[in-house]
């Protein structure tokens, strides 16, 4: 089944809009958290590599916001910068701070958390993009094909870090295991579609939540087996569900920074 905007039912449009907000808001915040690391990565080569990943991810967010603009949801820049936290659909996992402190001062960020969150998120995003390539909504399938090409490298990058730090010093293993616990506590809404689950799934926009969770577990399985570790379980019920606009204060603070200049004058040309 393929849909164009003209033949779209109200329900279909509601479902695709909701899904696009989830994808756009995830990448917008993920790129932001990555860019807070800029200049602070463990070595200069990593700064170059991970800032490239953040840049790609902001590009993905921009493409998803553009699809929303095309659907009449509003101007892409307004959607990215002006919506309040309760209107956002990103996962809780992605809004969490990198560690203590504000990026403009002297923050204490945790590289283990950055590696684990990025690796698990990237794998989840791959599962979604693979599925979206077959979406009934052609514009999103076309974007997913482009995103997948870059995700290949993101996955390679974070998987390398994950394996290296997990097979290194005791300190590194301890920090990585602590990070896995933190990340998995927040993993409950990553594959959630929120309140529109039924509409998103029934309209063949992408595979079901349950199917994608299985694929995610299968995708990281071999890495965990090789490290002789147990694959972590995805929580059945998220503590908070970002897909339904439930968020932490971390998101409010992130949005203040992200929109600080834009909000000075949203109608001006910047």
């Amino acid at each position: 089944m393929s849909m164009t905007e003209n033949s779209m039912s109200a329900e279909y449009k509601e479902a695709i809009t909701s899904l696009l907000f989830q994808l756009a808001d995830d990448d917008f915040l993920y790129a932001f958290r990555g860019s807070e690391w800029l200049g602070l990565a463990p070595h200069i080569e990593e700064d170059v590599a991970s800032s490239s990943i953040s840049q790609d991810s902001m590009g993905h967010a921009a493409m998803f916001y553009q699809l929303l603009e095309d659907l009449g949801a509003g101007k892409a820049d307004d959607l990215a910068h002006l919506r309040s936290a309760q209107d956002r659909s990103n996962s809780i996992l992605i809004e969490r701070v990198n560690g203590e402190g504000y990026y403009m001062e002297t923050p204490n960020y945790d590289w283990a958390y950055q590696v684990v969150r990025s690796y698990f998120y990237t794998q989840a995003k791959r599962v979604k993009m693979d599925s979206l390539c077959e979406s009934s909504y052609r514009p999103i399938a076309e974007v997913a094909i482009k995103v997948k090409m870059e995700l290949y490298y993101h996955k390679l990058h974070w998987e390398t870090w994950f394996k290296q730090l997990m097979s290194s010093t005791d300190v590194a293993k301890k920090k990585m295991n602590d990070a896995i616990t933190l990340v998995m506590n927040d993993f409950g809404d990553v594959f959630s579609f929120g309140n529109l689950k039924q509409k998103i799934e029934s309209n063949n926009l992408l595979d079901s939540e349950e199917e994608m969770k299985k694929r995610w577990l299968a995708s990281i399985g071999p890495v965990f087996d090789a490290l002789q570790m147990e694959v972590p379980a995805i929580p059945n019920h998220p503590v908070m569900n970002g897909r339904n606009g439930e968020h932490t204060k971390d998101l409010d603070e992130a949005l203040l920074t992200l929109s600080e200049v834009y909000k000075l004058d949203p109608v001006a040309v910047w």
């Binding site: 790129a31 932001f32 860019s35 807070e36 800029l38 200049g39 602070l40 990565a41 463990p42 070595h43 200069i44 080569e45 700064d47 170059v48 800032s51 490239s52 953040s54 840049q55 902001m58 590009g59 967010a61 921009a62 916001y65 892409a76 820049d77 990215a80 910068h81 990026y103 403009m104 001062e105 002297t106 204490n108 960020y109 590289w111 290296q164 730090l165 097979s167 290194s168 010093t169 300190v171 590194a172 920090k175 920074t257 992200l258 600080e260 200049v261 834009y262 000075l264 004058d265 001006a268 040309v269 910047w270």
Partner: protein, 316 residues
């Protein structure tokens, strides 16, 4: 001993002949220590400035006022880190005979022995500062760096080929930000004027003092002697005025120096000297944001020590 001495003299004569005839010196070639030390000082400072320069711009990466501006400034700052990486690699090869490596360069930065460019000690206040850094700071850097594209030291010249190509994009990125503000609201226009007023002295200082008498030291004579560059600090500053003063004025902005004027006969700009005592303080890490930026770099370096240990353990 005499024969060894002769041999050193011969080596030096041969070396000078090579650079006089435009030959390029490579990392493993014999070079006089003065040349090596001059290169180390120049390139390590250039490299670490790229890295420290990412910090003031990074402040504006998340705040950039649209998706496309966010993408633009992310790409730009990433390039700068890449330049830092390229230049530190060039420096590391030069440091080999002294048994020093990148970790030592970081320690030199933290203890104040390795300086970074005066402009990156300054604070940023508005989005216009991100534009001015791209347009005029990178514009100034293009002037000095393109002059060294033909540097006698081959690895530096080759690194600069790539760096200068990217810097041209950065200057365009900065110019595009400034043009949007200049064509915008009164508040946006005021933002650029305030930014130019703040950065003007720093931009003049960027090229260094006209002579070593001003601040007590300058490497410009040595870099010219060894054909690393061809022009003096003052010549660079004059080129900057020629290029940018008309552009600044054409945007309806003013230069924060009422005395500045161009002499048509000598083709020289006369201008109010920046406060060179302030410059001396800045390069001693006593500038407006010197300690904060160093502290940020130092803290992140210490916080990530476990990662470097872990990676060494994987390699070993």
């Amino acid at each position: 001993m005499t024969s060894l001495c002769n041999s050193e003299e011969e080596k030096l004569a041969h070396f000078m002949h090579r650079i006089e005839t435009g030959d390029k010196i490579e990392a493993d070639d014999w070079m006089p220590e003065e040349y090596r030390l001059t290169l180390i000082k120049l390139i390590s400072m250039h490299g670490i400035s790229e890295i420290m320069g990412a910090l003031p711009e990074k402040e504006w990466v998340p705040k950039a006022p649209s998706l496309s501006r966010k993408l633009g400034i992310m790409a730009k700052v990433q390039d700068e880190m890449g330049h830092g990486q390229l230049l530190l690699r060039v420096t590391e090869d030069l440091l080999k005979p002294y048994g020093k490596n990148r970790g030592d360069l970081m320690q030199d930065l933290f203890n104040g022995d390795l300086k970074f460019h005066n402009v990156f000690h300054m604070k940023t206040t508005t989005w216009a500062d991100a534009g001015i850094i791209g347009w005029l700071v990178d514009g100034a850097a293009i002037i000095t760096q393109t002059n060294m594209l033909g540097a006698s030291y081959g690895p530096y010249g080759r690194a600069l080929q790539r760096i200068c190509a990217e810097e041209v994009f950065h200057a365009q990125h900065g110019e595009s930000i400034i043009m949007a503000l200049a064509e915008g609201t009164n508040n946006q226009k005021a933002m650029i004027q305030e930014s130019i007023n703040y950065w003007w002295e720093s931009l003049l200082m960027f090229f260094g003092p006209a002579s070593k008498e001003t601040t007590g030291s300058s490497k410009q004579d040595l870099t010219i002697k060894y054909k690393i560059r061809t022009k003096t600090n003052e010549e660079f500053r004059q080129i900057f005025f020629d290029k940018y003063i008309p552009r600044i004025l054409s945007l309806g902005l003013t230069i924060p120096d009422s005395t500045i004027k161009f002499d048509a006969d000598s083709k020289i700009w006369t201008y109010k000297q920046p406060d060179w005592n302030e410059f001396k303080k800045i390069i001693k890490n006593e500038g407006p944001r010197s300690q904060e930026r160093l502290n940020l770099r130092r803290t992140s370096y210490e916080n990530n020590a476990w990662v470097r240990d872990a990676l060494s353990a994987v390699v070993n």
